[in-house]
Assembly symmetry: C2
Homo-oligomer: 220 residues x 2
Amino acid sequence: MLLSGGLDSTVAACLARERGFELHALSFDYGQRHKRELDSARAVARTIGAASHSVLNVPIGEIGGSALTQDSIAVPTGRSEAEMGGDIPVTYVPARNIVFLSLGLGLAEVKDADAIFIGANALDYSGYPDCRPEFFRAFEEAARLGTKRGVEGKPVRIEVPLQHLTKADIVREGLRVKAPLELTWSCYQGGRTACGICDSCVLRLKGFREAGARDPVAYA
Amino acid sequence: MLLSGGLDSTVAACLARERGFELHALSFDYGQRHKRELDSARAVARTIGAASHSVLNVPIGEIGGSALTQDSIAVPTGRSEAEMGGDIPVTYVPARNIVFLSLGLGLAEVKDADAIFIGANALDYSGYPDCRPEFFRAFEEAARLGTKRGVEGKPVRIEVPLQHLTKADIVREGLRVKAPLELTWSCYQGGRTACGICDSCVLRLKGFREAGARDPVAYA
């Protein structure tokens, strides 16, 4: 499972656990502006009983081109969900999911894993091309053709359990499967408390509100 | 262009140059047993006039599972081409090309590149699943669906100009386009001179012999 330490990947991981999978967590240090989410990933992996947790350094930040890895591009704040729609966001990291899934595939081959779980969902794929269902299916096919497991007739599946869920649905699923939501970190900024105004915080807070639940994370 | 510093990627890069592309070279430090080939990549990039050359650290070695990144698995030596056939070699690095192409895709988006050149060829894809033509087509489709360039209708192409060439053909092409073959390094071992007996050396020497040419590299 790809585990960023955010709400989505944590709920996706707990859904994998519910289905009886042994969990191997994989997180990435990719030059994101803050390491706060990696601390969350470690705490989540421990709490949900992952059999292993790898944190790999990936030089996506060196390639450049995103507000999430470059201080020179500002993270947008104070936007409503409607204002976020349409264009590809400046927080798009070129080829991020394809790089993450590829490294996940390498680990899956070594661990002899049947599937890779990723927390992408309906909200994401309105803006990020590498969160669209058709991308995941195409990647799964490339993975089948390009790996030893695929050649041997047991290709690694790409599981996207939140694919068609809204943020409110994800919160509800998280509560149902007792995901440690209090340990997750979604904010694009790296403060002591979540900022509450970046796109990620806005969507998360709206999700909790619509699910009629209280977000256990502290906000500024 | 993905540039390992070996014979194949160097000839592929020179074919891209012949077609008029501005060249951006990308090499990977992935925990391979020796850094000799990275020195070759730097020398080749400089000599063929690449506009840029990036060397990215990629933690494939940390994932494990290959003789090329783990000292505990021996690199086979003294095998004929016939003995190499059939099975996936122990030098297979799980998901290597899919990881390399993914990072190449990130760079291609940032550099606004039209294509990624990779030196895979007929000999490779007899053994490595991620060198097969059908894998490259599937990856290209995943890349189209998963990137900003793809969404904008100008997907990055995956160019595999040596795909159907034998080693002898590659040597001939290299001589024709005046590729700096004397700077390349193909040996799986990291000695001062090439070993001449690992699979890679055996295939290279046979290619030069069949092309009626002398390999300019020194052998032990």
